[in-house]
């Protein structure tokens, strides 16, 4: 992953010195000086080895654009992304599973079909388009929410603790809703199919024969058994979800890893670009590990060593 990003970005024309110091009055000698300072005059292989050695020590190098160490920049941006992506992820699962439960409880009715069509429509929209439409609609045409950023740039420092908290939440709602809409729609479709898949299973008939209320038959017995495909979806959908986060951060001027990555690509700020890519792949790997753990929690048959193979 690291290697691929490193090679890709160096294959692209231009370098950070050209980008930052492209004023024609800057002499070639000055550029050469700065290239030497940052090691950009070395052969690519040498640059790469040096870089890998840094990453192994937990150092991602130094940002040309920010004049700060990449680790410092990431440490500032990561919690913001975690806040946005985390709330959107929780929201998507809660909303997606709730929609599926309603659909299955009213299977074959108009409610089922309306939710089904709506989630299919949302599911087929591109994130950035959805983001821009949401921003236009709910921040400009109907100014219910702020138009971007994490806090009110003017008033925030003067607000009391409760008002400051509300200011943060107010800024979070629209981007989090927009980011979760797509994933929620996907989860709803998957969860509905998974629930209908177990609907004819014998143990649900047993639960009904025991006198378990229909609500618990669905929400306890069926949902626990229909969790596995959705956990799989979580592992598979995480890269796409993180991709969506990049777009949404950019559209809503959310100063997290996504905005950082987009700006860094534009500025050819290699160390930041690579660090963002590495971080992204670590999140994806972490996500599939988490999915594996959840799998074992959800299905006791997978807890023992030579268990049956997964569906």
């Amino acid at each position: 992953m690291t290697t691929a990003t490193f090679i890709l970005i160096h294959l692209a024309p231009g370098d950070p010195i050209g980008g930052g110091l492209d004023d024609p009055r800057v002499s070639e000698a000055v550029r050469a000086h700065w290239r030497a300072v940052y090691g950009l005059d070395q052969p690519l292989a040498v640059q790469f080895i040096r870089y890998l050695a840094g990453v192994a020590r937990g150092q991602f190098g130094y940002s040309f654009a920010y004049n700060e160490s990449v680790s410092t920049i990431l440490a500032r941006a990561l919690p913001r992304t975690m806040l946005l992506a985390g709330s959107a992820l929780v929201l998507s699962f809660v909303a997606g599973i709730a929609m599926a439960l309603i659909q299955v409880a009213r299977h074959g009715t108009a409610t089922d079909r309306v939710i089904g069509v709506a989630s299919l429509a949302v599911y087929s929209l591109p994130e950035f388009w959805l983001g821009q439409v949401a921003l236009l609609t709910f921040a400009y045409v109907l100014p219910i929410f702020p138009a971007g950023g994490m806090v009110d740039p003017v008033m925030h420092p003067y607000l009391g603790p409760l008002a400051a908290l509300w200011d943060r939440i107010d800024h979070l709602i629209l981007p989090a809703l927009t980011l979760s809409a797509l994933t929620a729609a996907g989860i709803a479709r998957y969860q509905r199919a998974a629930l209908l898949d177990v609907a004819a299973d014998d143990y649900l008939r047993t639960a009904r024969a025991k006198g378990v209320p229909e609500r618990s038959v669905l929400m306890r017995h069926a949902l626990r058994n229909a969790a596995l495909p959705v956990i799989t979806l979580f592992g598979l959908a995480l890269p796409g979800f993180l991709g969506g986060t990049v777009f949404i951060e950019k559209v809503f001027s959310w100063p997290g890893i996504g905005s950082l990555a987009v700006d860094a690509v534009t500025a050819r700020d290699y160390p930041v670009v690579i660090a963002c890519a590495v971080l992204g792949s670590m999140l994806v790997a972490g996500g599939s590990f988490l999915a594996d753990v959840l799998y074992a929690v959800a299905d006791p048959r997978l807890r023992r060593a030579p268990g049956p193979s997964r569906p």
Partner: protein, 349 residues
């Protein structure tokens, strides 16, 4: 075999009247149960026997209204249990009877238990949905019930998941689940069919013993007449979604009237010798037709060695053979016809 049974009391525990359960299918409407009437007395064991496809399981599921749509119980059917018509009562009254007054055990112990919950919690759940009680008290009842169905180390077993248990143990768990509320009626649909012979005998012995100690009635469904002989006091023979013969067990084995029952009796090793090595002595020719296309007239006529014109056009009523014995066969009206072709030489028309 047990002694002859008394005449059915006028006040049965469960009374099914003209039950019709149908499933719309691509091939037409499957009339799986089509006009079934039967009663279960308090404390008795009523056996229902018949080949696969004769409507036994659909009957069992209909009693607790467990038929999944688009299948449905047709209007006009009634299933009276303790003054409530289960076919039409509201969902909450039905729920209060399921698992509490009527317990149910299914054929497939592999799939009937929920794979993601411990067996203890699945038994305790029955207590918790019917009684206001603490988690611990319900768990205690579950463990005690596991002990009552003779599962050793029941306190530890309660923490296990279904996939960690053998088929026989799972069926004991199903029994514990069905009996934990001490129901007045247990419906057991082929409870031992999926088990091997030794385990089968153990489970049946356990069932008989629990029935004694709890004083409940049992509706035992099976395709195996040897099991009927071993545990039932009365028996209803089903074919084509209908009762075709009904009699006390002794009378059925001594003097079966319906040619279908005679065929079933010939098709199994002698009931008095359940361990007899002799395999099937004779098969009933042909097979059960699909429920979408029952033959006109007597539903058994195209497999019957005695069938004549009347059988092909007129559905026989349940003729009374004696006060406790009934048969849905025109031979009851025209007994002379029984001398016709030898039953063993019979071929499907």
């Amino acid at each position: 075999m047990t002694a002859p049974q008394p005449v059915p009391a006028p006040n049965p525990l469960l009374s099914i009247r003209d039950l019709r359960t149908v499933f719309p299918t691509g091939a037409g409407v499957a009339r799986a149960v089509d006009g079934l009437t039967l009663g279960v007395e308090p404390g008795e064991t009523l056996g229902i026997v018949g080949e696969s496809g004769s409507g036994k399981s659909v009957t069992a599921l209909s009693i607790l209204r467990l038929i999944r749509p688009p299948g449905r119980i047709e209007a006009g059917s009634s299933i009276t249990f303790g003054g409530t018509d289960l076919a039409t009562c509201d969902a909450e009254s039905l729920r209060a009877i399921r698992g509490r007054r009527i317990g149910m055990v299914f054929q497939e112990p592999m799939t009937a238990l929920n794979p993601v919950f411990t067996v203890g919690s699945q038994i305790a759940e029955v207590v918790r949905v019917h009684e206001r009680t603490t988690r611990q008290a319900a768990w205690g009842r579950a463990v005690a019930m596991l002990e009552a169905v003779r599962i050793p180390a029941s306190a530890e077993r309660a923490h296990q998941y279904p996939h960690e248990l053998s088929g026989g143990t799972r069926q004991r768990v199903m029994l514990a689940m069905a009996l934990v509320m001490h129901p007045a009626l247990l419906i057991a649909d082929e409870p031992t069919t999926a088990l091997d012979v030794t385990v089968q005998a153990q489970i049946l012995a356990l069932l008989a013993e629990l029935q004694q100690s709890l004083g409940m009635a049992v509706l035992l469904i099976t395709h195996d007449l040897a099991i009927i002989a071993a545990v039932a006091s009365r028996v209803v023979v089903m074919y084509g979604g209908q009762a075709v013969e009904e009699a006390p067990v002794t009378e059925l084995f001594a003097a079966a009237h319906h040619p279908y029952t005679e065929g079933l009796l010939r098709a199994v090793p002698r009931p008095r010798l359940p361990n007899s090595p002799a395999a099937r002595l004779a098969e009933i020719p042909g097979s059960v037709p699909p429920a979408t296309a029952w033959p006109a007239g007597c539903r058994f006529h195209d497999r019957c060695a005695f069938a004549w014109d009347r059988c092909r056009h007129e559905m026989p009523p349940l003729y009374a053979i004696s006060a406790t014995h009934a048969s849905r066969c025109h031979l009851a009206a025209e007994p002379a016809r029984r001398t016709a072709p030898a039953p063993t030489a019979g071929t499907p028309s």
